[in-house]
């Protein structure tokens, strides 16, 4: 297999897109991705579909896929560092869903999505342990999933309130990317959470990243919270970006030379409430990511 820096040339440019997950768009007041694409095609160049294999795709995701519009597949149910999690039944389900969605790539938080086996009540999302010994198992899982699907697998830095380990989050993911020879998904809001908790400024550690491997960015609103005097940030996916998130996103948009896609995560908000956020992100995109008239859906 060619190395990632060769493979990246084959990845499509998706531009600005929006995310969804099972049932999200039918909730009262939630964003309808198809309506966003009709009304503001520049903001919905592709749909990032959050998927648990056991649930499959909802009607909105199926309809989007059937229209032939671009997608990416965001997994919500694989602990990448656990070989037992890539069981044959799950892999078969994943391949079937990929055949329907035809995603440009797979991506998702590289953390602990569930303890034990996949069961109701087992789901959570914890960040990886940020130590050198955790790099190889994660990288092996990414390479194995890539081999099993024939798709690029982009690990994403997860959210959290308790990050354990002696490596900076970005140093950990830089090592994972090199070891797996893969691209990365940088979630700017998740990184802002980490930086705040670790006592870092928003741009601290950004030099760790191999920026030419950053293929996708996530941008989302968050909310500052306090529990017993402990200050943390909730990954709210709301319409208001924290200044730290925007500072990270702006720098990432400048540096990520192979960037292909930016997702505004706001799936549980009405379109009207998130248009200013989309406009802000769209205005900041590098020219090569902006939609041109011929790219727009009919």
């Amino acid at each position: 297999m060619p190395d990632f820096r060769t493979r990246v040339a084959r990845l499509p440019t998706l531009g600005l897109g929006v995310s969804t997950e099972y049932g999200a768009s039918v909730a009262a007041g939630a964003l309808d991705p198809a309506a966003l694409r009709r009304e503001h095609p520049d903001y919905a160049g592709f749909l990032e579909v959050g998927v648990e294999v056991v649930k499959g795709l909802d009607d909105a995701a199926r309809a989007w896929a059937a229209s032939g519009a671009p997608t990416t597949y965001h997994f919500l149910d694989i602990n990448l560092d656990d070989p037992e999690d890539r069981d044959p039944a799950w892999l078969a389900g994943l391949r079937g869903l990929c055949a329907e969605l035809r995603p440009a790539w797979l991506c998702g938080d590289a953390g602990l999505w569930h303890f034990g086996r996949r069961e109701r009540g087992h789901m959570l999302l914890l960040p990886p342990v940020l130590i050198a010994e955790a790099v190889a198992p994660m990288a092996e899982g990414i390479a194995a999933l890539r081999a099993a699907t024939g798709l690029e697998v982009l690990p994403e830095n997860p959210p959290g309130t308790a990050f354990v380990g002696d490596l900076h989050l970005l140093e950990f993911f830089a090592r994972v990317a090199e070891a797996a020879d893969t691209g990365l998904l940088l979630d700017c809001a998740h990184l802002a959470m980490y930086q705040r908790l670790a006592g870092h400024a928003p741009h601290d550690g950004l030099d760790h990243l191999p920026w030419d491997r950053v293929i996708e960015l996530h941008v989302a609103g968050g909310r500052e919270r306090e529990t017993g005097g402990f200050r943390w940030i909730e990954d709210e996916h709301g319409p208001e970006l924290l200044p730290d998130t925007w500072a990270i996103a702006q720098l990432a948009l400048e540096r990520a030379s192979n960037l292909r896609a930016v997702v505004v995560e706001c799936e549980r908000n009405p379109i009207a409430a998130v248009l200013p956020l989309f406009a802000r992100v769209a205005a900041a995109l590098p020219a090569r990511l902006k939609a041109v008239p011929k790219d727009r859906p009919a």
Binding site: L112, R120, G121, L124, A162, L197, G229
Partner: protein, 262 residues
């Protein structure tokens, strides 16, 4: 350092405030080196308590799978499960929370608990290595014995709980615009005798329950381990079959799919 050991400790810290205190305490903790523990100590203990609904979500999952057991026990008792060694072991060894709850239940919820524990095990069949020349009870079947009246109470309670059992159980009785819960809980009954049940899981996960003879249930329970045909014929005789009928009994059970090749 072992990232899995650290991850397991983080997981336990989310559910067990006592373990957070132990991490910061002086006593040695099995399974964690001092270096691993030092990493955990660097995290503000309050960081593990930012999700007030974590246990509530787990309770919801338990109540949805064990609704009648939860009705028999009460929600406060269900919540005690999350401090049990069965739950903590499940976090540590990557097990199933549902199976851990089934184990923890034992006889706490009497017949309803036995029924729902058997259902939980049917949903999670353990792959059995074939043993040549043996027979065993079909994996989609659970033969159980329970206090008399358990099935009726289970069915009445399941109907009373409706589509949202947690909501029903959490609602104060004086605010519930519905009939009172079934009153005769087998939990409180004294020496009611036994009834014998067969529970079957279908291809789509649906359950069917029915009563069966004591002899059949005991024979099938005997066959939950792989047995030779001769052993099963002997058990059939112990359970009341005439010696010259035993082979026919086993043939019938094979034909009905209640017994299968081991």
């Amino acid at each position: 350092m072992n990232p899995r050991a650290i991850q397991r400790a983080v997981l336990r810290m989310l559910y067990d405030p006592g373990f957070v205190a132990a991490i910061h305490g002086a006593r040695a903790l099995p399974g964690l080196s001092e270096a691993e523990r030092a990493l955990l100590r660097r995290v503000d203990p309050r960081a593990f308590a930012t999700d007030p609904l974590r246990q509530a979500r787990a309770v919801q999952a338990i109540v949805e799978e064990f609704p009648c057991s939860a009705a028999a026990l009460g929600l406060a008792r269900v919540e005690a499960f999350f401090a049990s060694r069965e739950f903590l072991a499940c976090l540590g060894d990557g097990g199933s929370m549902g199976l851990a709850f089934a184990t923890w239940l034992e006889d706490q919820a009497a017949g309803a608990g036995r029924i729902e524990a058997a259902m939980a095990r049917l949903r999670r069949p353990v792959a059995q290595s074939p043993v040549a020349g043996t027979l065993r009870c079909a994996v989609n079947l659970a033969p159980i014995s329970a206090p008399a009246g358990s099935l009726a109470w289970y069915e009445a309670t399941r109907a009373w709980l409706g589509a949202t059992p947690l909501h029903t159980l959490a609602e104060p009785a004086d605010q519930a615009p519905r009939a009172a819960p079934p009153r005769r809980s087998p939990v409180r009954s004294r020496d009611p005798g036994e009834e014998h049940l067969l529970i079957e899981i279908g291809a789509s996960g649906e359950m069917s329950l029915g009563t069966a003879s004591e002899a059949l249930v005991r024979l099938l329970r005997h066959a939950q381990r792989a047995r030779t045909r001769r052993e099963l014929e002997r058990e059939a005789v112990i359970r009341g079959a005439a010696a010259d009928e035993a082979a026919g009994v086993i043939d019938d059970l094979l034909a009905q799919g209640l017994l299968v090749a081991g």
